[in-house]
């Protein structure tokens, strides 16, 4: 039995029917993790602990009291703090940092019975779109087979792990596309929820006004289920929302009719994409129209500023958020420092990688008193304008459709220019800038046989609508995952 191929809904049915035990599923995953070692998806594993948890899960099933996510093996991006488990954010700076607290999202999913297999590789401090900035080395996209294809980033480890059968699901974080783009690259499903839906407490901060935790899974049903557990108000995070969280999986039980639904696609996003991506999108539009939906082009003129705005604002916040890694307390501390100023300079020079340093420089500069108005304040105004644009679209349309990435996954090392790398987030930063949710689902294969992704952007707290559409499209598109190929 190749249990690692199942989704959680399939596993759950098997657990309940006593077809197999959680322990057996764990054994299957442990073997697969071993086989997939070359992908470099995990930074730290905690399989012994996982096996103990599996025992407990089996007991719960036997007692007829399984929790919502009982026996769900999961990988956690290495920027979620977990008690007693090394949390590095893929940086030398935190190479030996072991938190004595859980992030709130981790607490939530642990309480519902997930089994954490380990901490997933990522771009250093979530800064990157290819997972190449990790201190622990690049991750391989399983779709590459003999070629070294990027898994996307920054949640590249999480995406590769789920695609390759090293875990049934994973947690990612999305600041400007870090869940959605790697999900697209690895042919899985990844959600960036509405800003404030999931608590940021205990997640190593990159850019506070943008960071959101998101589920990465093999299908929409698992995604909706996992988000239902992750989401919710947290008194420890003042930016979390207080709204009641619906049961997203319940919504999927009755597939919606597309008749009369109205969707918009952003022309600027389509024209910026390569041919295969455009063709793929047109196929999706045709499918929707066949089902009676309206699909109209719209123009978001400010889209062209989105990348610059995102790079600036995220760098500004990062330059401040990463100031705490100073060599004084729990971080890497240089051995070559003989006085305080050296301790800062040397520890930070040694502890941070090149991309992190680049962003810290950009952010520090942009926040300086003489540049503040020119950059930070202007970007904040731009965010307001982009928000207005989105709101006028949602006054007319239910959801917005874009490609998740403008191109097929690229070869590792292929993109050298930082600006070209930032442009990878072309489709995903816009809604992130204003806090709107976006989901990426696999939508087909590109010219080189690598996965493409479709992004569904919704209004605030429209996760239910997004999942409902994704669920229908998932069936229609019938994407062959890497595992099932």
């Amino acid at each position: 039995m190749m249990l690692y191929k199942y989704t959680y809904s399939e596993l759950r049915a098997g657990y309940e029917a006593k077809d197999f035990t959680v322990k057996e599923v764990l054994a299957s995953y442990i073997q697969k993790i071993e086989e997939n070692q070359n992908l470099n998806g995990y930074i730290t594993l905690c399989l012994e602990q996982a096996l103990q948890e599996a025992k407990k899960a089996d007991e719960n099933f036997a007692a007829g009291q399984p929790r919502k996510l009982e026996g769900m093996p999961i990988a956690v991006k290495d920027n979620f703090c977990m008690k007693g488990l090394r949390t590095t954010a893929a940086s030398k700076m935190l190479e030996n940092f072991i938190p004595h607290y859980n992030s709130s999202v981790i607490d939530r999913i642990l309480n519902e019975g997930v089994i954490v297999l380990g901490k997933a590789n990522m771009d250093e401090f979530a800064m990157g779109s290819s997972n190449e900035t990790s201190y622990f080395g690049s991750v391989l996209n399983p779709w590459g087979n003999d070629k070294a294809i990027a898994p996307g980033g920054s949640s590249g480890g999480s995406a590769a792990i789920v695609a390759a059968g090293s875990s049934v699901a994973a947690l990612g974080t999305d600041t400007g596309g870090s869940v959605r783009q790697p999900a697209s690259f690895c042919g899985i499903t990844g959600m960036r929820p509405t800003y404030g839906l999931c608590s940021r407490y205990g997640i190593v901060a990159f850019a506070s006004s943008l960071d959101q935790a998101g589920p990465m899974t093999r299908d929409v049903a698992d995604n909706a289920l996992l988000l239902s557990v992750m989401a919710g108000h947290d008194p420890k995070d003042m930016t979390t929302l207080t709204e009641e969280i619906p049961d997203y999986s319940a919504i999927l039980k009755n597939p919606i009719s597309l008749k009369g639904k109205s969707f918009a696609y952003i022309e600027e996003c389509l024209s910026a994409s390569d041919e295969a991506v455009q063709r793929n999108m047109q196929n999706v539009f045709a499918l929707l129209r066949e089902r009676g939906a309206i699909v109209d082009p719209i123009s978001l003129k400010l889209q062209k500023y989105a990348i610059s705005a995102y790079v600036l604002i995220s760098a500004c916040e990062a330059s401040s958020n990463l100031a705490r890694y100073d060599g004084v307390r729990y971080t890497h501390r240089s051995q070559n420092a003989d006085k305080l100023s050296n301790l800062y300079n040397e520890s930070r020079s040694e502890g941070f990688g090149a991309e992190v340093k680049r962003r810290l420089c950009i952010g520090t500069y942009a926040l300086s008193a003489s540049e503040y108005e020119e950059f930070y304040l202007r970007v904040q105004k731009l965010r307001r304008l982009i928000y207005n644009d989105f709101m006028s679209v949602f006054a007319k349309y239910d959801l917005i459709l874009t490609p998740t990435s403008p191109s097929e996954p690229f070869v590792l090392g292929e993109i050298q220019s930082p600006c070209a790398m930032y442009a990878q987030d072309h489709m995903t930063v816009m809604n992130a800038l204003v806090g709107l949710p976006g989901l990426s689902i696999p939508s087909g294969l590109g010219a080189q046989g690598l996965p493409l992704g479709l992004q569904i952007i919704g209004n605030f707290l429209s996760e239910s609508d997004i999942y409902a559409l994704a669920h229908v499209l998932e069936k229609e598109i019938a994407f062959q995952s890497w595992l099932k190929k």
């Binding site: 940092f97 506070s208 500004c316 100031a323």
Partner: protein, 452 residues
Amino acid sequence: MVKEVTKNIHRIEGKTGLWEVIVGLEMHAQIASQSKLFSGASTRFSRNPNTQVALVDVAFPGMLPVLNKECIRQGVKTGLGLQGSIQKRSVFERKSYFYPDLPQGYQISQFFFPLVLGGHLDVSVGQKEVYSRRVNLERIHLEQDAGKRVHDLFPNKSALDLNRAGIALMEIVTKPDMRSAEEAMAFLRSLLVLLRHLRTCDANMKGGSMRVDVNVSVRKEGDPLGAHVELKNMHSIKFIGQAIEAESQRQVEALENGENIDQNACRFNPKTGGITVMYATEDAADYRYFPDPDIPPVEIDDSFINAVKEEMPELPNAMVARFCKDYALERYEAEILSEDKDVSRFFEQAILVLKVQKEGAAREMALWIIGEVFARMSEGVSITDIALTPERLAQLVALVLNGSVSRAIGKSILDKIWQSNANPEDIVKFEGLEKISDEENLCQWVKEKVCC
């Protein structure tokens, strides 16, 4: 009563004429609250380092600040007490700099949008010739305190104590409205009294609950404001006075010698009276302020402000005026009694139970408290901690006012009941201390003693 005088204003006589001294103050007052500004850690003082510390105070990865609403309430209360304008929307910002006692690498403070704008405090200045000086305020904002570096624990290392890190401070900034050391000292004394009445700060400068930065400049009358020097981090009103005198004198001499005043942050050494430069404020660090994205803007509505208004105590200036009027006290006496809210409460409770309706009765009570009760209280003891109750004191003062005992006997009775809070009337009876004013009895007694 007291009026604003423009005469008698302090001037420094230089070689070239009279110089006016300009003083502005920035107070960092620790807000009285159970827990810190953004964490649940206790604000109680502890000798054991790093015992009053939450994860967010250490700035562990992923930790987030959660605003303590009590601190906002205390800030609003202080703002109202100082007649300031409470801002319906204020914003916490990050002030960035690297220092080991600042774990986050930034201090959460308010810069562009503070909690309170404007306000003022009327201060009476002088001993003999009392005049009133209105000191206007720039603003009040809230911010985090830093931790403490400890250098004497290890031979080659410094240690960190983060107990204080994250405790809420209010920074109260005045306009450059004071014109002498005496005015600045009077302002500080009045401010401390006000904060104690509001119970928004312990207002104990020795204990470090208020630290002051003093800005000093001098000018010839009518000239625009000159460059100022900032005397940082002062803990004593007396030394602040000395520092202002020394610095203004130094500036006059420097200017008269054709030198410039450099805009510096300085330290005053009370032992030597010397002033040493710490750093130039003109090329001070760029703090890269920006709104803290972890903390939504603070929105305050009228109902919140009104609720705070309802629990506002009588302000010290109003209390002084009322004491003078209702109890016929001298201003000086009224000020002493209203300096401490517990003392004023003790006084008024005693008045309430004093059954003697006599002119000057209230003042008699005031003098007993100021003269006799205070003299018997050891330093640092609050009037709420002594055994004597206002009721007993009222009984005693009644005995004096009725003429039952003389003042001198009254004082010895006070000694007797000081520890026990015994009934002074009983003491009088048991010890036969009653003053005898009945002539017949008195004559008899004199005859017995003298003519036998």
